[in-house]
């Protein structure tokens, strides 16, 4: 269930970070602008193809158990709370705290749709975390704000270090017989507070060590140069063109309401052909990219064009 960047030999990983971000942004736009469940589903399918093409499908899919729980929770809460809709499925005259509860088919579908929307957004972010190197994004933004980029890079590296430190700290104290899981809440807090204090000190010590190492390598001694520049390949031009075009197409179609879906007072599908086309387009692009990736893996000639 660890979601962290995983380097693999795939076409997506070989792309310029600009192309990678634009591709993900286009897919992200679909559930963001549309409440239509088909929009969310198209985004999820697209990301699934991308994850498969980037060899991170297993890691990406590992997150789904938690996501499905969230989905079920969203549906249940919405069904219980929302009494909108005309198709009443269940009526309870009195439920403690909640009072009168009315479960409608529209309420359930609205909850499911919102749940799908959340899942689609998480799916895009999970894939982006797994497949886009944070260092490359930072080097992309560093010309504009080098200090912020560096600070972000350091923070990103600190996260696994702090996680490891806290694990070590917990293990050391469990191993010496300190009861950190006491049923007595006060005792538990009393035992855990010094660990938190120690963790903060360790964190600060690490910060000082990094500062020392940076100063020893001339950080802050004058204007910096930029060593790493990412080139754009033919694939990047293709991905950027397709992503930008799709981005505008999805934006316009959504703004014109061509892929609308109304939940209340009664379910009403107002999606037009152009709307369906936008959903299909997203999945189609991802399938094409998946096929391209497979060919790229097998063909040295295609790889040479990266």
């Amino acid at each position: 269930m660890k979601i962290a960047f995983k380097k693999t030999e795939s076409l997506f990983h070989a792309l310029n970070p600009v192309s990678q971000i634009l591709f993900c942004a286009t897919i992200f736009l679909m559930p963001l602008l549309n409440s239509n469940p088909l929009a969310s589903l198209s985004a999820i399918f697209s990301v699934a193809f991308l994850a498969a093409s980037s060899d991170v499908f297993k890691e990406w899919a590992s997150w789904w158990r938690v996501c499905l729980f969230m989905f079920a929770l969203t549906v249940l809460v919405n069904a219980a709370i929302s009494s909108n809709g005309t198709s009443v499925l269940l009526k309870v005259s009195h439920v403690p705290i909640m009072g009168r509860v009315m479960v409608t088919a529209e309420g359930i579908i609205f909850g499911a749709s919102m749940g799908l929307r959340i899942l689609a957004i998480i799916a895009v972010f999970t894939f982006a975390t797994l497949s886009i190197d944070p260092d490359r994004i930072l080097s992309l933004i560093s010309p504009g704000s080098s200090a912020s980029a560096l600070l972000t890079a350091m923070t990103l590296r600190m996260v696994p270090s702090v996680a490891r430190d806290s694990k070590e700290l917990l293990e050391a104290h469990v191993a010496r017989g300190i009861d950190l899981e006491s049923p007595n809440c006060i005792k538990r807090i009393k035992m855990r507070v010094p660990l938190l204090k120690k963790l903060t000190t360790t964190f600060l010590d690490r910060g000082i060590s990094i500062a020392e190492a940076m100063e020893s390598r001339a950080y802050g001694s004058g204007p910096r140069s930029r060593m790493k520049r990412y080139v754009y390949s033919v694939y990047d031009y293709g991905v950027i063109f397709v992503s930008v075009s799709s981005f505008f197409y999805i934006s316009i179609i959504s703004a014109l309401g061509f892929n609308s879906f109304y939940f209340y007072p009664a379910l009403s599908l107002k999606t037009r052909a152009a709307g369906y086309a936008s959903f299909a387009l997203l999945v189609f692009i991802s399938i094409v990219f998946f096929i391209m990736s497979m060919l790229w893996k097998k063909s040295l000639w295609l790889k040479s064009k990266t």
Binding site: E168, G177, P194, A213, S216, A218
Partner: protein, 570 residues
């Protein structure tokens, strides 16, 4: 190249100087080894050379430090780094990026080097340190040795005339450490870069240095070649010499070896010179010697049989473990740990040593198989029951220290164990005396040296007096004086019939203090048996003494054995 004159330095808020009237010259292309016990001022001296002291740390400074004629006292560290490269102790604490190339290029970017020139330098350094294969990897995926090589590359790329390294191998296993030091030596020889290396375990680098400088309590007590140091006898007193040199000195030999190779040459020469050669040789031994070797082997068999009748304190049955990545880190381990034994677990990094002891301590749950403590399956025991029987000092002793001072740290364990005040005070007093930490029991934790902190961490576990004590790499970063105290604890536990399990790379420590040895490789148990059997059968996983005396007397494993043979020869 580096010129230090009468340097006296005190850290802010400290009255006692960390360095006192230090004088040191480093010539171009020289390899200088700075040795000394923990807290002797090695790191402070290194930081004074690259200007972090006083520019980063502040404090009071007297005297002068200059590098290539530039005074470090009034020059920014950023400017000095063109001349002095600095590699820190912990590779984790000095790497900023996840991408190796970005990390190596960082210094050049800070210096504003043109990209074309920078690329060339990065590529050259990566090639010279043979880092090409990790170009596309993430830094967090690399081994400690590879990370430290990246740190070295990131300073080397700035083309300094001097490289200063502060205990760069202290976090590495022996194989990675040796590889790193050989790389360093080849840079020194091929490029003529001057090297200043601070180390406290100097047996690995003794032979690499042109000059050795010994610091004691912030003062330079010796500066000279390795031959001179042995004659001066200073290092022997402070326990800094490589293990192989010690028996030769104690036996009164004129020629002192610092490496196994030198030792074997000396022994061969002595044999050729006809100095009782038959007595020293295992192959060409006299009838009397042959029969004595036979007796030793018979004794070994008897001992193995004896262990079979003793109480099994811990039994590991078909233990499998995986960290969830699908790759098993332990594969079907079967082992018995007898009461009163000190059992050493050895093997390369990633072989599953820590995973095995964490399973025994109940910190990890077995994927398959069972572990029994005193005949009870630990899966049926509560955390409290396991803790009452088994205590563990983890790899990072710092993680144990959360209280203000050592006394409070020990009291915390006693409180958790539910001891009454009288019992707790008695136990704390006993441990403080046993480990010799009574003098600083009420001192703030941050004022203690690394060795003292390690002792407090060990004390925080043994104050509970568990039947099973697990020590995960207890000698890493420790000097000989602290090791002696640890050895005393192990001997006392042995007398009391308590089991101690030690995970370590320190094979000299294993030979001196353990009864049995378990060797792991890639999660599998390669061999287990009596210490002498396992170590004398190994080629790499054995002591310097065994490697040196192999072919002369294969049974030499400990310093005592070596001394005996040398006395017979000499």
């Amino acid at each position: 190249m580096v010129e230090i004159k009468n340097l006296t330095y005190s850290y802010p808020d400290s009255r006692k100087p960390a360095l006192s009237k230090v004088n040191l010259d480093v010539k171009p292309g020289e390899f200088v080894l700075i040795a000394g016990l923990t807290g002797s001022g090695k790191s402070t001296l290194c930081r004074a050379i690259n200007g972090l002291i006083p520019n980063f740390y502040g404090g009071k400074i007297l005297g002068s430090v200059s590098v290539m004629g530039i005074s470090t006292l009034n020059t920014k560290v950023g400017e000095l780094c063109r001349h002095v490269g600095f590699v820190f102790q912990d590779p984790e604490a000095q790497l900023i990026f996840e991408d190796p190339v970005s990390e190596i290029a960082f210094g050049l970017e800070n210096l504003g080097v043109e990209p074309e020139q920078g690329f060339k330098r990065v590529e050259e350094v990566m090639a010279s340190l043979r880092l090409g294969h990790i170009r596309d990897k993430r830094i967090s995926e690399l081994s400690g040795g590879e990370k430290q090589k990246i740190a070295l590359a990131s300073v080397l790329v700035m083309q300094p005339e001097v490289i200063v390294l502060d205990e760069p191998t202290s976090q590495l296993d022996p194989v990675s450490a040796e590889d790193f030091l050989l790389t360093l030596k080849s840079l020194n020889s091929d490029l003529g870069v001057a090297v200043v290396l601070a180390e406290h375990r100097i047996e690995r680098c003794f032979h690499l240095a042109d000059r050795i400088v010994i610091l004691d309590d912030g003062k330079v007590v010796f500066s000279g070649s390795s031959d001179e140091i042995a004659k001066a006898g200073i290092a022997n007193v402070t326990g800094l010499l490589p293990p192989i040199a010690k028996p030769f000195i104690e036996a009164g030999w004129e020629k002192i070896p610092f490496t196994v190779r030198e030792g074997r040459i000396i022994l061969s020469l002595s044999r050729l010179n006809g100095v009782d050669r038959d007595a020293a040789s295992g192959r060409g031994a006299s009838c009397k010697e042959k029969s004595s070797l036979k007796i030793k082997r018979k004794k070994k068999k008897k001992r193995t049989q004896e262990t079979n009748f003793r109480k099994v304190q811990v039994r590991v049955e078909n233990l499998w473990h995986s960290y969830g990545n699908g790759v098993p880190s332990l594969c079907g381990i079967n082992a018995d740990f007898y009461s009163g034994d000190v059992v050493a677990i050895i093997g390369e990094n990633g072989s599953g040593k820590t995973t095995l002891v964490k399973n025994i301590a109940g910190l990890l749950k077995p994927m398959r198989g069972r572990i029994f403590i005193d005949g009870r399956n630990i899966e049926e025991m509560s955390r409290k029951e396991i803790s009452a029987l088994c205590g563990m000092v983890t790899q990072n002793p710092e993680a144990h220290l959360i209280s203000r001072n050592p006394r409070m740290e020990l009291f915390l364990t006693c409180e958790a164990a539910g001891f009454d005040e009288e019992n707790a005070s008695r136990r704390i007093h006993d441990i403080l005396v046993t480990l010799g930490i009574e003098a600083f029991a009420s001192k703030p934790m941050e004022e203690l040296s690394c060795g003292q902190r390690e002792l407090v961490a060990i004390a925080s576990v043994i104050v509970r007096d568990p039947d099973i004590l697990i020590l995960d790499e207890p000698t890493r970063g420790l000097d000989s004086s602290v090791k002696e105290k640890l050895a005393f604890v192990l001997a006392k536990r042995k007398e009391q019939g308590k089991t101690t399990i030690v995970v370590t790379h320190d094979l000299e420590f294993v030979a001196e203090f353990s009864d049995r040895v378990i060797m792991l490789a890639a999660g599998r148990l390669v061999t287990q048996g009596e210490m002498r059997e396992v170590l004398s059968d190994s080629i790499f996983y054995t002591t310097q003494y065994n490697r040196c005396f192999r072919g002369f007397d294969d049974n030499v494993v400990t310093k005592k054995d070596a001394l005996k043979v040398l006395r017979e020869l000499g």
